[in-house]
């Protein structure tokens, strides 16, 4: 865990008068599962949007395996191996579950549009290979029976998992998941926790923005706590659970020593 997958240095962003992200710095070690927690409006998703090129920061830097991500477009960020999901499951409507997962492989699809149109053997072989991988991933998260169902007809939990699987199809080096457990019931959350561990064990670094404490505390190697745009604490789940500032941020001002 020596090399940093993602290094965020003094990232700063103002929206009008709102200081959404205030000098945020943290490091995601290679191969780790980092959780970013914090109350609503703490700036968690904004950090994601800054890192993935949707917004431009006012100052600061974000480095992905040593390379600066600033001034890169979302497409370039994705092409470098950093793939994100969205807070509201942004699966593609009008496509089946399988097509959605296959769409995740866009960056790795080698056959040209022209060779696809001519039904060339190479393009068809590639398509078949990708389809097998996509089917395996659907099987893995228990969505195999929804293969040919319109993705929008999946239950919320299924859509969330589908989005994670679609991101995996892109073979990321670092996966940013924005509230993957939102809208999931307890059983689905437990399944998600196992999936997250499996992703990390497969060598993919993961950053999760999450509200669900039991999920975070169960799977994270490292927890970063944001409040009102600033990092208020970071450390192992155990350290965070005992941190006064975190308790203050979450349940309001606690009496000293009363926790």
């Amino acid at each position: 865990m020596s090399e940093a997958a993602l290094e965020i240095k003094a990232l700063d962003k103002n929206f009008g008068g709102l200081h959404a992200v205030n000098k945020v710095s943290f490091t995601v070690p290679h191969g780790s599962l980092t959780a970013v927690i914090g109350p609503n409006g703490a700036g968690k998703t904004t950090v994601f949007n800054l890192v993935t090129g949707l917004y431009r920061p006012d100052s600061g830097d974000a480095r992905f395996y040593g390379q600066s991500l600033l001034d890169r477009s979302p497409v370039e960020v994705a092409a470098s191996g950093l793939i994100r999901t969205f807070q509201s499951a942004r699966i593609y409507p009008g496509m089946t579950a399988l097509e959605n997962v296959l769409a995740g492989a866009h960056l790795h699809f080698r056959a040209s549009a022209f060779s696809q149109m001519l039904w060339l053997g190479s393009a068809r072989r590639e398509e078949r290979a990708l389809t097998r991988r996509a089917e395996a991933l659907l099987e893995l998260v228990g969505l195999a029976s929804f293969r040919d169902v319109a993705a929008t007809e999946l239950p919320m939990g299924g859509q969330k998992l589908l989005e994670v699987v679609r991101a995996l199809m892109a073979q990321p080096r670092l996966l940013l998941l924005d509230e993957p457990a939102a809208g999931l019931n307890d059983a689905e959350t437990a399944e998600l926790a196992e999936l997250l561990r499996a992703i990390r064990d497969a060598g993919i670094s993961v950053v999760v923005v999450e509200h669900n404490m039991s999920l975070v505390m169960g799977v994270a190697d490292q927890v970063i706590v944001l409040d009102a745009g600033s990092v208020v604490a970071s450390g192992s789940p155990r350290e965070i659970q005992q941190d006064q500032r975190v308790i203050a941020a979450y349940v309001g001002q606690a009496e000293p020593g009363a926790a």
Partner: protein
């Protein structure tokens, strides 16, 4: 000098009508967030009603005016209640835009049936003799036009600023949901604004009818120029709408006066494209900005139409066999002729399907590419004696160049602005084909185009053309099917549904939009060339702006994003008028009706709905259950 003043006055009068239309656009846009392209139709509807009441029935002017406005209002209420209102709740913004284009066609169809295709002009209210002021001659009707515009503008201002009803309308404009929470009947406000805009347009039409001649399809002209006015002035900005109308009217008249009336439209459109590049939101900004992503929203969910695997293969073989034997089981040669036209148009609609159905990019000017392909091939073949195949290739190259140039403008535009830019493109090509008389033969068309030939082989008969087009379609459908069911198609669909999520997965959104535009432009160009070679004749109206709307109607009726489905739509709208000659008069009406009905009640189109129904039957046993456990 006097001539210049004369021209400017003419422009102001013209512009006053554009301003009224633009006000209607802004009113509906502010209250509902969508653009109603049917506006110009109401303009002509009001004027023709007035003609019937005043001239044919001989009613006194005030009575005729009241009757015409009441009739227009009734038309507005009926269309608003049955189509526009329901569409707002279930269609995406750009689909509603296209549906209102269908409404415009529908109104034109009604006018064609009711008043046939001759031009009408109302008698001027206060006589023919113009007034001369310092040598400048002003038609007295001009005062009535300006008076009508001023009364409407002041009335609208009073309504919005000073009345409770206006307050409710403004509340809808600010935030529809909040307005509903406050107990405002938003659907009724929508209907009211739609109808009020129709009446304003009708009054504009009545005022301008004495100094211009109106036909059933003049509404398209009014819609286009009202739309351009509002885009120049600022969508939703009332002062901007009036200003935009006047600017457009004056600049158009100046262009007509000093350059050529045939280029007047082209120059107005060039003005618009410059505006779109320079200030896409218009000169005046209005209210809160609305999200205008092209179909990039939740209401676009369509059922997924697929005939995959063995079923699809069987269907394809059966369809191919049917197409190949069809000429031998036909009753008459007239139908074969229509089938060739069907096939040629289908090639263009195939491209439109890639662009609109798969990539989700609205194009209201697609016939422009048909014109480029048709005229390029035809001119090269007649004047320069190029072989047809080389002419077709040259047309495609030129279309690709134009598509690329258009893309430079449109990749940055979304929703209404994209639709507007493509509309402007189509109209610009349209006005060039009319205006470049020396090259294109102008409005009377280009004659003496040879038959299509490859080397020494000439496709002279309908039968030969039929098989040429059929084979071409087989090849194109097979190629497009190969690409669209694979990575290319998935990337296009990702762009259609969610551009942000697509980019986050590495899809280069502008590049795929460009690919779709170029592909569709090339196919439209090919279709246009074949069209010219088949008819041995090409005139602007064969590939003009109404053709663009007709192609959209064909696409939507057949089924967007189904590739082969639109063939049904093309066949329906091409064959029915041929097979049932008496129905030719009803073609425009049927086109509009079909488009509106399909948008509202058959969103997957005829082919799509049939395929979904079939798939549901066969899939029922395959799909069961729910998500099971995760991870071994």
């Amino acid at each position: 000098m006097i001539q210049a003043i004369q021209i400017v006055i003419g422009g102001v009068l013209q512009g006053a009508v554009f301003a009224l239309l633009a006000l209607g656009f802004s009113l509906v846009y502010r209250v509902t967030g969508v653009i109603n392209l049917a506006q110009g139709g109401f303009c002509v509807f009001g004027a023709l009603l007035m003609y019937t009441l005043q001239v044919s029935w001989g009613l006194p002017i005030p009575l005729a005016l009241a009757g015409a406005l009441a009739g227009t209002a009734l038309g507005g209420v009926i269309l608003g209640y049955t189509t526009f209102g329901p569409a707002l709740t279930r269609l995406s913004v750009s689909s509603i835009l296209v549906m209102t284009a269908g409404l415009l066609t529908l109104i034109q169809g009604v006018l064609l049936i009711g008043w046939s295709s001759q031009p009408y002009a109302l008698p001027p209210i206060s006589g023919e003799a113009p007034i001369a002021i310092f040598g400048v001659r002003i038609p007295t009707q001009g005062f009535w036009i300006v008076a009508a515009a001023v009364v409407i503008i002041l009335g609208l201002w009073f309504l919005l600023a000073r009345t409770r009803l206006g307050l409710a309308l403004r509340a809808c404009a600010e935030n529809r949901l909040a307005a509903r929470l406050m107990g405002i009947d938003v659907p009724r406000m929508t209907l009211f604004s739609f109808t009020l805009a129709a009446v304003i347009a009708g009054l504009g039409g009545i005022a301008v009818a004495p100094i211009t001649s109106l036909e059933f399809d003049t509404g398209g002209f009014f819609t286009n120029f009202g739309f351009i006015s509002v885009a120049v002035g600022g969508l939703g900005a009332f002062a901007g709408s009036v200003f935009g109308g006047l600017v457009l009217g004056v600049s158009e008249q100046l262009a007509a006066g000093y350059v050529s009336s045939l280029f007047a439209n082209g120059l107005a459109l060039a003005l618009l494209l410059v505006m779109l590049l320079w200030r896409p939101n218009g000169l005046f900004t209005a209210g809160p900005a609305r999200r205008q992503d092209v179909r990039d929203e939740q209401r676009i969910h369509r059922a997924i139409v697929r005939l995959e695997g063995r079923g699809g293969a069987i269907f394809a073989v059966l369809a191919a066999v049917f197409i190949l034997v069809l000429p031998f089981i036909l009753p008459g040669a007239g139908i074969l002729n229509s089938l060739v036209i069907t096939g040629i148009l289908f090639i263009a609609v195939l491209g439109l399907d890639v662009l609109m159905g798969y990539a989700g990019q609205v194009s209201l000017g697609h016939a422009g590419f048909m014109a480029i392909g048709g005229y390029t091939a035809a001119i090269l073949a007649t004047t320069y004696h190029w072989p047809p195949l080389a002419g077709v290739a040259a047309g495609i190259v030129l279309s690709l160049v134009c598509a690329f140039a258009l893309s430079l403008v449109t990749t940055r535009l979304r929703g209404h602005f994209l639709a507007l830019a493509t509309l402007a493109f189509g109209l610009m090509i349209d006005s060039l084909t009319v205006g470049l008389t020396d090259v294109t033969g102008g409005p009377s068309g280009l004659v003496g185009i040879p038959s299509f030939s490859v080397g020494p082989y000439v496709f002279g008969s309908s039968m030969e053309m039929y098989y040429l087009v059929a084979v071409l379609i087989f090849v194109l459908v097979a190629m497009l099917h190969g690409g669209l069911r694979s990575g290319f198609g998935r990337a296009l669909k990702a762009v259609r549904t969610d551009q942000t999520a697509a980019a986050a997965l590495g899809v280069n959104v502008p590049r795929y939009k460009l690919a779709a535009v170029c592909l569709s432009a090339a196919l439209a160009s090919l279709s246009g060339s074949l069209y010219a070679f088949y008819f041995h004749f090409l005139s602007p109206e064969m590939v003009g702006a109404p053709r663009s709307f007709e192609m959209i109607a064909m696409l939507v009726a057949g089924g967007e994003a189904t590739l082969v489905g639109p063939l049904l739509g093309v066949a329906l709208l091409t064959l029915i008028p041929t097979v049932f000659q008496p129905f030719a008069l009803y073609k425009t009406f049927a086109e509009g009706l079909l488009l509106v009905l399909c948008f509202l009640w058959l969103p997957e189109g005829m082919f799509g709905s049939a395929a979904v129904w079939l798939a549901r039957i066969t899939m029922r046993r395959k799909v069961d259950g729910r998500a099971r456990t995760v991870v071994p």
